[in-house]
Symmetry: C2
Subunit: 326 residues, 2 copies
Amino acid sequence: MRPGPSLGGGTPLRGLDEDEILARILPTFPHSRDLIVPPGDDASVLRTGERTIATTDTVVLGRDWLDEWSSGADIGHKVIAQNLADIAAMGGRPTGVLLTLVADPDISMEWVQDHARGIAEACSAAGVAVLGGDLSSAPAGVVMVSVTALGVLEGEPVLRSGACPGHVVAVNGSLGLAAAGLMLLAANRAERHTTAVDRQRRPRPPLSAGPQAAAAGASAMLDVSDGLLRDGGRIARASRVVIDLDPEALEADIARVSEAVGQEAARECVLAGGEEHSLLATFPAGRMPPGWRVIGGVRALASGENPEIFVGGVPQQVTGWDHFRG
Amino acid sequence: MRPGPSLGGGTPLRGLDEDEILARILPTFPHSRDLIVPPGDDASVLRTGERTIATTDTVVLGRDWLDEWSSGADIGHKVIAQNLADIAAMGGRPTGVLLTLVADPDISMEWVQDHARGIAEACSAAGVAVLGGDLSSAPAGVVMVSVTALGVLEGEPVLRSGACPGHVVAVNGSLGLAAAGLMLLAANRAERHTTAVDRQRRPRPPLSAGPQAAAAGASAMLDVSDGLLRDGGRIARASRVVIDLDPEALEADIARVSEAVGQEAARECVLAGGEEHSLLATFPAGRMPPGWRVIGGVRALASGENPEIFVGGVPQQVTGWDHFRG
C-alpha cells in the first residue's frame, strides 16, 4: 500500500517537537567513512579532496510533484537523483547531501518518514552520506524539499562549453521515459507502462558514467533535466557550435517510449521530455567509453549562424517550462 | 528609503523569465580565487582542503521574518550570518554558500534584488563565494530562503561535547541585543535603540574568532542562536557536565541591553534571547585568546545529577521556540 498524501491523514507534525521528529528520521540516514563529524553539532565535517563540486535543487508540492502521483519515498528518490546527476555531469562522484524540509505543520509524520526512507535508499545506493539538514514550518498547504549535494572531482571538471567540431554527441541512459510516465499519470493510465511511470517517480541517473566519461576525455557534459533539445542546445550555445542529432539514432528510444504513449507522443517525449537525468556528452572521435551510444555530431558554426540544436540537419524550435512564466 | 515588502508593490517576478531574473542578480554575487568553476554549469567547483564543513539553515516569511520589520537586504545579511556562524562555531573559515529562493511569483523583483544585495554584502565581507543556487516558484504568500554554507577547517573541529570540569565558559560578541531589537520592533519603538534593532536585522557573528578559538585550544563551542541558557545547556548535555554562569559577569551585558528595553526584560534577553550568533565556548584554564570574556565555569556532575545549565549555582528552566509546536 502506498503511504497517504503528505497533507491529510496520519499523525500531523504539529503534535511533535523537532527533536522527536529528528529522532525518527536521522537514524535512517546513511553515514560514510568520509563523514568525520556527523549531523548533530553546529555543522558536519566531511573528508574532501582538493576540489569540491556543489549544487542545489529544490522541489515544491503542487509544482514539482502531486501527492496523487508520487509517494513521499518517490519524492525522496527523485530529489536526490536530480541533485546527484548534476555532480556526475561535472565528472564528479557524489559524496554528501544536506536536506531541508519546509512544511505545513499539518503534514503527516508518516509521509515524512516515508520521504526520509526514499532519501536514505537513494543516498545509500550512491554511497552518499547525509551531512545535515534543517526542518522548518511553513504556511498551510506548503511542502518543499531542498537538497544541496557535494562531490569530489578526481580529474578536470567537464563543462558545457568544451564541445568541438568533429566530436560525437552521445547519451548514457534512457530518453523520454520519465516524460511518458508523466503523461500516463496525467491520463490516469499508470498501469499501461510501469517502467515509464517508475522512471518519472524515481529517475535513475547513470552516476558512475559521469566520472568514467570525464576520465575518457568527454569534452562537454550535462544531465538531461529539461529535455534533449533544450539541454543539447545549452551545450551548443556554451560551446558555440551546432549540435546535429541523428534521427535514426533516436529510433530505438522512440520505439521503446511508443509502447507507453504511442508513436507521435513518443517522439516528443524523447526530444523534449525532461526529468530523465540521463547523461548527454560530447567526445572526441574514438574516445567514447562503453555504455554510451552516439546520437549525433558537433559541427562548426557557418558564417553568421547561431549556435543551435538541429535534428537531421533541421534547426529545432525549443520551448520549455519556466518557473515564473509557467 | 527602505525597499517595499516582498509581496505587493514593484515588478512581480511573474512577468520575467528565470534567465532574466538570474541575469539581474548573479553579477552582484562575489566570486573568490578558490572558485574554480563559477555558477552557470550543472554544478560549481570550489578548491577545498582535506576537510569541508557543511551546514544549512532556512528562513521563511511570516515565521522567521516580517516584511514590516526587515528589508530584503536585511534578510540576506541575516540568513548568511546565521549560516556562517555555524561554520565558525566548528572552528572553521567559511568559503562558499549555495542559495535557494522559493517564492510566490507575485514577489517583487525589487525585493529580490535588494535581498541579493544583502547576501552579496554579507558574503563579500566574509570573503565567501556564491557557489550556486536554485530559484523556484511557490504557492501564494510563500517566500523562503535556504542557504547551505561550506567552510574549511585547518585544525581539529570544535564540538559541543568537549567541555571538561575546570574549564572556563566564555563568550565572544554581544548578548541579548538581537532579542531586545525584536522587542522594540514588536512594540513599534525601533527608534529607541538602533543598535539593538540593527543587531536583530543583521546579526554580526565574530567569524574570525571561531578558528582563533580552535587554534587556542577551545574544548567546546557553538553560536548563540537560541539563547545563552538553551545553547549553554546543549554544551552541558553533550559534554555531560554542569555549566554554571556567573551573574556578575553578565551585569555589563544586561546594563547595555537595559538601555533598549529596561532592566527586567534585559535580563531575559541576555539569558534567553536568540539570533545573536555570538560565539560561546569553553577553554582549559589559561588558553582563552583575546577578544573573549569569561562568563562562567564548567564543573563535574555530582552523583545522580543531570547535565544542566546553572546561573550563580541555581539550575535554570529553559524553554524556547519550537518550529512545529510553536
